[in-house]
């Protein structure tokens, strides 16, 4: 494959970032916005060409009928040793091609949307610069040829996320949210890094192709080494998964994501809903053949995912801030993908149901990106209209903002899994995979799906129906630049489910047909509809039921509303234990013990100097006496020693 297009796909956003970052402050808002959109538009077109060529070009179907993996280019960037080399390259396989589409689509939509949403904001140019940086990093991440390249871009997306969350840097909340996001993900990345170190120590390679094409070799290369009872491969994979947990906001490293909603809403749509947060899923998917080798690692993935999904759904039911609700929804949905990946394999190379879970996960990733971006952008339009994030400030908006209302409704239906919207198809596959793996997980995830439908429609009704509060300005639909993305994404959410995804993305790149498992599908739709009906009953207009339920289960409400007090726990650990319990004592220790020791050399010297002062008494007879004793001691001691 030509390497020009791939290079441009990465280079254009980077150039835009540098251009807008360095010269942006000299530009007008219009010019900067135009440049950003033009750059992203070009990238979009190039990515589509690349991805579509890959998916439909016959040259990429190998002799064995498998879709080939293509390393378009791979430049040595930093050679640690002969084998361990970080290369910067462009790797095309089904998931990276799919991610190219997802990223550039959402990113372009967000660019467009932001033109209206961010109009007149200070730092408009900076905003676009950061968006370009993020797009660059995310693209780089998905096309990584080796795990270290992924780590590099992994860090870069983290940084751009940090910068964008903290975009409103005058606000304390934004600053601390960005800090939190960075540090939590950084902590997770530490795990990732150590995982890489461990893995590369045994395999002596960073290269994905090398690792995934023959995963049993990876297992063999560890030579059965164990550490603290678990095999080193498990350690490595779990640690790498930790990185994914951080980025994808899995429990217990999820706490940064709700706070990240402090950033501009389009950013949330792009980064914290559609692209960056799925990096963890992507990572596991990328390493999937290796994970397959270690049942214990996938087990952990399933457990973490399942717990997170349920937890986030619970919490989402009790939030006030619509962006928070969406954030928890995102967490929950990503957990779905994780679970799906986890259930795709059944330990030691046996792929359950032809890797259905894998395909489902990727499918859900794709559809979720679209409809969640849609929801976020819709939420952005709402916030734009009423200048508040809380649904308490909203209500009855369907009259004022019809476009937003209808697109938002489509998004909700999609996420709730109502056919024929895209979410139904992908979620159905996931549930099917879960049931196949273990009925318990299937039921559990179905329950979460029901909760999803409930909290989404709770929000929907509270915002668009419910009682109308007093608005200072009459809310109205957003300008065209914001509506286009909404409409586009809504359209995609409507039709994306019909894409024959299995033809394009499967774990072993062997195309196969998706078929809907009717029992699972029907049951889940029924459950979802029931949940929606309940939500409608409770929230379409003033109704004592919610209050009653709250009163009936106060403890549960409190815990859900306060997100099960995770933030407080972290606060306790970081501030009380690490900051006050380690840092401060260490600083004290440094100043008083270590430095005190150094200073005490000086003090002791001074004291000694003071102590021997009487020697120089000024009395000549004492001088002579010391002289005499000195001489005699010299003789006497020597004599005792040598004679």
């Amino acid at each position: 494959m030509e390497s020009t297009l791939p290079i441009l796909i990465l280079a254009i956003p980077l150039t835009m970032f540098l251009l807008l970052g360095i010269a942006g402050c000299k530009m007008s808002h219009k010019l900067a916005g135009f440049l950003g959109i033009a750059g992203m538009g070009t990238t979009l077109v190039l990515s589509y060409i690349t991805a579509l060529t890959y998916f439909f070009g016959p040259e990429f179907i190998g002799a064995d009928g498998l879709r080939e993996q293509v390393t378009v280019f791979n430049w040595e960037w930093l050679a640690f040793t002969e084998n361990l080399v970080i290369s910067l390259g462009f790797f095309l396989d089904p998931i990276s091609a799919m991610m190219l589409i997802v990223i550039t689509t959402i990113s372009f939509m967000v660019h467009l949307y932001s033109l209206g949403y961010m109009e007149g904001e200070r730092g408009f140019q900076r905003y676009y610069a950061f968006l370009s940086l993020f797009s660059f990093s995310m693209l780089g991440l998905v096309v990584a040829t080796n795990i270290f390249q992924m780590y590099i871009f992994w860090e870069l997306v983290g940084a751009s996320s940090y910068l964008l969350i903290g975009f409103y840097y005058r606000l304390h909340s934004a600053v601390s949210a960005s800090k939190k996001a960075f540090i939590v993900t950084r902590f997770a990345d530490l795990g990732f890094l150590i995982g890489i170190l461990v893995l590369s120590y045994y395999t002596q390679t960073f290269d994905f192709v090398k690792m995934t094409s023959d995963p049993s070799w990876v297992l063999a290369s560890t030579g059965g080494a164990t550490f603290m009872g678990a095999s080193v491969l498990t350690w490595a994979l779990v640690l790498i998964f930790t990185g994914g947990m951080g980025k994808s906001a899995m429990m217990p490293l999820h706490i940064w994501l709700p706070d990240a909603m402090e950033g501009p809403t389009p950013v949330s749509a792009l980064i914290h809903a559609a692209t960056m947060v799925v990096a963890g899923v992507f990572l596991v998917a990328r390493m999937f053949p290796v994970y397959m080798m270690e049942g214990s690692a996938t087990m952990i993935i399933v457990v973490v995912g399942a717990v997170t999904a349920f937890y986030a759904a619970m919490v989402a039911c009790a939030q006030i801030d619509i962006k928070r609700i969406l954030a928890f929804s995102t967490i929950s949905q990503i957990a779905f993908m994780m679970v799906s990946l986890g259930v795709a394999s059944e330990g030691h190379g046996e792929v359950a149901h032809h890797g259905l879970g894998y395909m489902a996960s990727m499918f859900h990733l794709f559809t979720h990106a679209m409809f969640k971006a849609l929801l976020f952008l819709g939420a952005g339009a709402l916030i734009h209209a009423v200048h508040s994030n809380n649904y308490t400030a909203m209500g009855g908006l369907r009259k004022y903002m019809p476009i937003t209302h209808w697109t938002f409704l489509i998004g909700c239906l999609a996420i709730a899994g109502i056919p024929p919207f895209s979410g139904f198809f992908s979620k159905d596959e996931i549930l099917a995979a879960c049931y196949a793996w273990s009925p318990f997980i299937g039921v559990w995830m179905s329950m979460v799906a029901a909760l999803t439908a409930f909290y989404m429609f709770r929000m929907y009704y509270l915002v668009f129906w419910w009682n109308e509060p007093h608005y200072h300005h009459t809310p109205h639909d957003a300008p065209l630049s914001m509506n286009i993305p909404l409409l586009f994404l809504a359209a995609v959410s409507c039709v994306a489910g019909f894409i024959p995804f299995g033809h394009f993305v499967t774990w072993n790149r062997m195309p196969y047909d998706i078929h809907i498992e009717l029992p699972v599908a029907i049951s889940s739709v029924v459950v979802a509809l029931v949940a929606i009906a309940l939500a409608r009953h409770m929230y379409i207009k003033e109704n004592p039921l919610p209050a009653k339920m709250k009163a009936a289960l106060p403890r549960l409400w409190d815990w859900c509303h306060h997100r099960f007090y995770w933030d407080e726990l972290y606060m306790f650990i970081t501030h009380r234990i690490i900051f006050n319990g380690i840092c401060r004592p260490l600083a004290w220790f440094d100043r008083h013990i270590i430095d005190g020791t150094m200073d005490s050399f000086a003090t002791v010297t001074n004291k000694a100097s003071e102590a021997i002062r009487p020697l120089q008494s000024g009395q000549v007879q004492m001088y002579v006496w010391y002289y005499l004793i000195g001489a005699l001691l010299l003789a006497g001691v020597t004599a005792v020693c040598v004679l």
Binding site: L78, A79, L156, A159, A174, F182, I194, A587
Partner: protein, 501 residues
């Protein structure tokens, strides 16, 4: 003698000193400083080009441009010069920082004396890096140390008397051990009956220091240099010293002088006494491992910008020594990269802190806030420096740290690997303190209304910072160039002795 290109690294500063003596006013002083530092940058670029050309032509000598002029014939002391990739890298680093430092002290008071000492300091630094004779190396080393006292004492701030004295005495304390170690090496530099020598290459060739002496001399030299490299527990001069030092001095000191420590540890302690290094490395590994984590933890609770950065330096420099002790090619390459990286970014940090301090007259982060609105340029630079420090890819910190971690983790011994993981933890703590400062200092609402009237960077400040940022980014973006420049040194047989790598 003057046909050797390296000698000009000492000659130019000396000429600058002479020029400075003739200067009448501030403009001339600036002219001398700028011309001189430009000449040094040019010279180091030239050396780099020549070096690469020679290497490209297949020159496999451990050192290039080697030359030696007898100085004290009876003791076989020579003025011996020579560079390998490491020294070239260090020379480039030094010249860049001297350049940036000159601009950062554009409006210093008593400029003549200031630059006099500053240039004397850089003479020492350059001389140290080009020397391959232990005696001249040590001499230049001490030449570089003593101007610090006056620079901090006269132009410093805060508790400057105490800090200057502490810094000088502790560093000289280190060099006391060092001197003993060096003379000891000299006396065991040749096999029985052979000609004793101070020349590093010859000593390494002779490989005559017997085992028991190595175990005595290695700690001496390692601790001697380690003090300057801010090795725990001998790092305490660093926070106080940096906090009190004027901007350019902090830059030079953290940026270059602390590198002397790491460089010396490698060039003398490990290069000449590999067996002892191998056997005793665990002791120092523990100490430096502590430095790495401990410095970072301490930085988390400090509120004085310079203290934070000083502790951060302890942590980062600890990583340098840590990696050197791993005794394998990758980790040691990483150590040198980390020296470059830390030198540049910490110089950038100190330059920025100095500039902010020069405006607000406080370094307490609790007394400041919202600088991004007041001085966007400096703030952006600070963020970049912070990002470099916490290891953002594309900037130098990432490259060096990763090289170190990957390299260290390649160590065959489990103990070393576990320790590497412990050291890795520092990247999280680093993020904590960097972001804490960035969040408090640059973001958020403006803390003090008086600060609103402050101005952003002047052109010379911009020049100074841009130079450093570009350098940081250059290393971060094109690491393989530096990697190849450096790791040539680590190829040859010194590891063969250890059966490592």
């Amino acid at each position: 003698m003057f046909s050797n290109i390296l000698i000009y690294f000492v000659v130019i500063p000396l000429v600058m000193l002479g020029g400075l003596a003739l200067c009448q006013n501030i403009r001339q002083i600036r002219a001398v400083a700028v011309t001189g530092s430009l000449a040094l940058i040019g010279l180091s670029a030239w050396v780099l080009a020549e070096y690469l050309e020679l290497r490209g032509a297949g020159n496999e000598d451990p050192m290039l441009f080697v030359d030696s002029w007898t100085w004290f014939a009876p003791l076989n002391i020579h003025l011996a010069v020579g560079v390998d990739g490491i020294s070239v890298a260090m020379l480039i680093l030094s010249s860049i920082i001297v350049f940036a430092g000159s601009f950062a002290s554009w409006e210093i008071k008593q400029a003549k004396e200031f630059f006099l000492w500053l240039i004397l300091l850089s003479t020492g630094v350059f001389g140290f890096f080009i020397s391959i004779d232990l005696f001249t190396m040590f001499m230049f080393y001490e030449v570089a140390l003593i101007p610090m006292y006056l620079l901090i004492g006269v132009w410093g701030s805060g508790n400057k008397n105490y800090s200057a004295m502490k810094l000088t005495l502790m560093l000289m304390g280190g060099s006391a051990f060092l001197m003993l170690g060096l003379i000891g090496i000299y006396y065991h530099s040749a096999p029985e009956g052979g000609q004793l020598t101070w020349n590093i290459l010859e000593i390494a060739n002779n490989d005559a220091i017997d085992h028991s002496w190595q175990t005595f001399l290695f700690p001496m030299t390692f601790v001697g240099f380690g003090v300057l490299g801010a090795m725990f527990p001998f790092h305490t001069w660093s926070p106080d010293g940096h906090a009190s030092a004027p901007t350019a001095v902090s830059m030079l000191h953290a940026g270059v002088l602390m590198k002397l420590g790491g460089y010396g540890c490698f060039r003398v302690a490990i290069y000449l006494m590999p067996q002892a290094a191998h056997e005793l490395s665990w002791i120092f590994l523990i100490l430096t491992g502590i430095s790495v984590v401990y410095g970072a933890f301490c930085a988390c609770v400090k509120t004085d910008l310079k203290y934070i950065n000083a502790y951060s330096s302890v942590s980062h420099c600890g990583l340098v020594l840590f990696a050197i002790l791993m005794l394998n090619e990758t980790a040691m390459t990483g150590a040198i990269m980390q020296m470059l990286s830390h030198g540049l970014m910490t110089a950038l940090f100190f330059a920025l802190i100095g500039m902010i301090y020069g405006r607000t007259h406080t370094r307490e982060i609790t007394q400041m806030g919202g600088m991004m609105q007041i001085m966007p340029y400096l703030s952006v630079c600070y963020v970049i420096a912070g990002m470099a420090s916490l290891g953002l890819p594309g900037l130098s910190g990432f490259v060096s740290e990763m090289t170190i971690f990957v390299g260290s983790f390649q160590h065959a011994d489990m103990f070393h690997r576990v320790f590497t993981i412990a050291a890795c933890c520092s990247i999280v703590i680093t993020a904590v303190y960097i972001l804490r400062v960035v969040g408090k200092l640059l973001f958020g609402p403006v803390y003090d209304e008086h600060h609103l009237s402050l101005t952003d960077a002047t052109w010379w400040e911009r020049l100074s910072t841009v130079t450093l940022i570009v350098s940081v980014a250059a290393i971060g973006c094109f690491p393989n160039f530096f990697n190849h420049l450096i790791n040539f040194t680590f190829k040859p047989a010194i590891f063969a002795v250890l059966g490592l790598n």
